[in-house]
Symmetry: C2
């Protein structure tokens, strides 16, 4: 099983403002930059409780019938009726083993803390980072502490007319 | 007068390790990525005392006869005999006004704290950021707090065979 991250960040490395707001991601305008193709390639999502609640707060449900595994030790807010949501808890290695055992082949890991924990545990194989042309100065960082250096292999970088720069890396 | 930053960072946004070490910048190998052309385009450098001392510690002097202005409220360690070094102190707007008044046209602002202070003061017009394909987890960050969002205009992104990705932005 492979785990990927697909995320938009400010040039100074934040995936959201301190209060979770994502307004600055519009700085590059709404030009398509491969999310739909990426989303079609995954068969499940893994995210933290905060990201789940943020998504619920948007009022729609983006993920169709694709299974969404929410990492939380607490009960979850009820999902919309059309959603396929399941709570899980445990360290990244156990989550990955459990999902691989259930036959998933490509998971999309999302949310600040969840991405950081999966990276630290060596459980991410691909990073697709889209830099939005703005500095916001503070917020929720994409990256966090690591136990050791993590070498990346650059696959490709794409630039868009609206100033988005998307870089894809593999992690050995 | 124009002020530019030309800097290498890990993908997680660090310009140096906590102890100032720059070893990880080699992760991309030594392929040329435009530094010489950039350096030829500036007529002075501005850096903080720590960066100055780090450069002195390298044992050579990279900057030839190009004037280097070191921001410090204290006496500086003596520069090599061939170097042109001058101490300055004051907020970025005053430094920029003083250098413009002396006829400089394009300054190269370097060093973590100095870059952050000049950005916060709105005194940087161009950012050339080279991402080195590694995550190091902690260190001296390129970016710091800002008083407000800073919109960037994407100029160009170049990718190198060794995995370096260099993005150039203008700040209005």
């Amino acid at each position: 099983m492979k785990a990927s991250v697909f995320v938009g960040v400010s040039v100074d490395g934040f995936i959201a403002r301190r209060d979770g707001a994502l307004d600055f991601l519009d700085a590059g305008g709404g030009e398509p930059h491969g999310f739909e193709e990426f989303f079609a390639s995954v068969d499940a999502l893994v995210m933290g409780r905060k990201t789940y609640e943020t998504v619920l707060g948007f009022g729609g449900w983006f993920y169709g019938k694709k299974p969404v595994f929410v990492l939380s030790s607490q009960e979850l807010a009820p999902p919309p009726t059309e959603a396929v949501v399941e709570r899980m808890a445990g360290p990244p290695t156990e989550i990955v083993a459990a999902l691989a055992g259930r036959g998933f082949e490509h998971i999309y890991v999302d949310g600040g803390r969840t991405i950081q924990e999966f990276l630290r545990a060596g459980q991410i194989q691909r990073l697709i980072i889209t830099h939005v042309p703005v500095l916001i100065g503070s917020g929720i960082p994409l990256f966090g502490a690591l136990d050791r250096d993590t070498r990346l292999t650059h696959v490709d970088t794409r630039q868009y007319a609206n100033g988005l720069v998307q870089t894809e890396y593999l992690i050995a």
